[in-house]
Amino acid sequence: MAFAHEQLERYSRHIILKEVGVRGQRKLLESRVLVVGAGGLGSPAALYLAAAGVGTIGIVDADVVDLSNLQRQILHSTPDVGRAKVESARETLEALNPEVTVQVSRLRLSADNILDRIRDYDFILDGTDNFPAKFLINDACVIARKPFSHAGIIRFQGQMMTYVPGRGPCYRCVFENPPPPDAVPTCSQAGIIGAMGGVIGSLQAMEAVKYLLGIGSLLTGSLLTYDALKAAFRKIPLPARKNCAVCGERPSISAPFDYAQDACVLP
């Protein structure tokens, strides 16, 4: 398949990179990435993936756009308040790059549907806002052998790691089990500086693009933390946990399961 003139122009700044080139750009166009959560992290991530020409982008979100989302969730605009986030996301991404296929699912991921949802994707990006969802995505990706980017943001802080099967620890290796509801604050209770989603969500898109292109090194086996007030990034090495319940030597978790939802994510 030869690139049309318009494609060569649209992706020209990629194509002149020796790490990307025509071959790499074609890889991106043939790639499929699932973004879970069209919010603070998912918004910038999905925008950069669409702009980059990732050929198929899945968006999963059950919610509608709320006015309080617009301070950071840049997929959505003021006229979208009250609309399904996945619809607003689809419109924004298709306007940015009509060449991209946007597949939307208006639902909350659960143990019943997650393996079906992730099956057809090459890379999964966790942009959810609660621990049950983060553990669910981790377990499903480990079980289905799918690479994914984990991230969490709160107040002026963010952190992220990348899981690739067979290449280092999973999220459960690090944190083992979700904390009890309300034991640690989440965004809606604690606040979040808007640009934090932009910083960390863009880095998640960067991890996805590097994985798809097979270039550079990923945040496998390390946690990248960002403290905006200190203007400081740190890359903390993460060991694997041999007795990890899902990726360890004798795993006790062989199918995804649901934890009770955090009280604060209920509408």
């Binding site: 919610d63 942009g127 991230a151 709160i154 290796c173 690090v174 944190f175 965004c187 903390i236």
Partner: protein, 68 residues
């Protein structure tokens, strides 16, 4: 003794347990922090009986739940 805690090298009293270090460093939500010592996770039940030695590196890993 010198320890490298969260990337910063500082002087600490000899014989300090991880539990005491967590207090000294004013770790938020100490009951939910993950600790790695020289690139190996320490089970939380072992914090009181784990005594970092001169030159050791300790990292605190925190739950961060937000995203949307």
């Amino acid at each position: 003794m010198r320890l490298i805690v969260a990337g910063v090298e500082k002087e600490y009293a000899d014989g300090l347990s991880l539990t005491r270090l967590i207090e000294l460093e004013k770790v938020a939500t100490p009951q939910y922090v993950t600790v790695s010592l020289n690139d190996a996770f320490v089970e939380s039940g072992a914090f009181p009986d784990t005594f970092p030695r001169d030159g050791d590196s300790v990292e605190f890993l925190y739950f961060m739940g937000g995203g949307r």
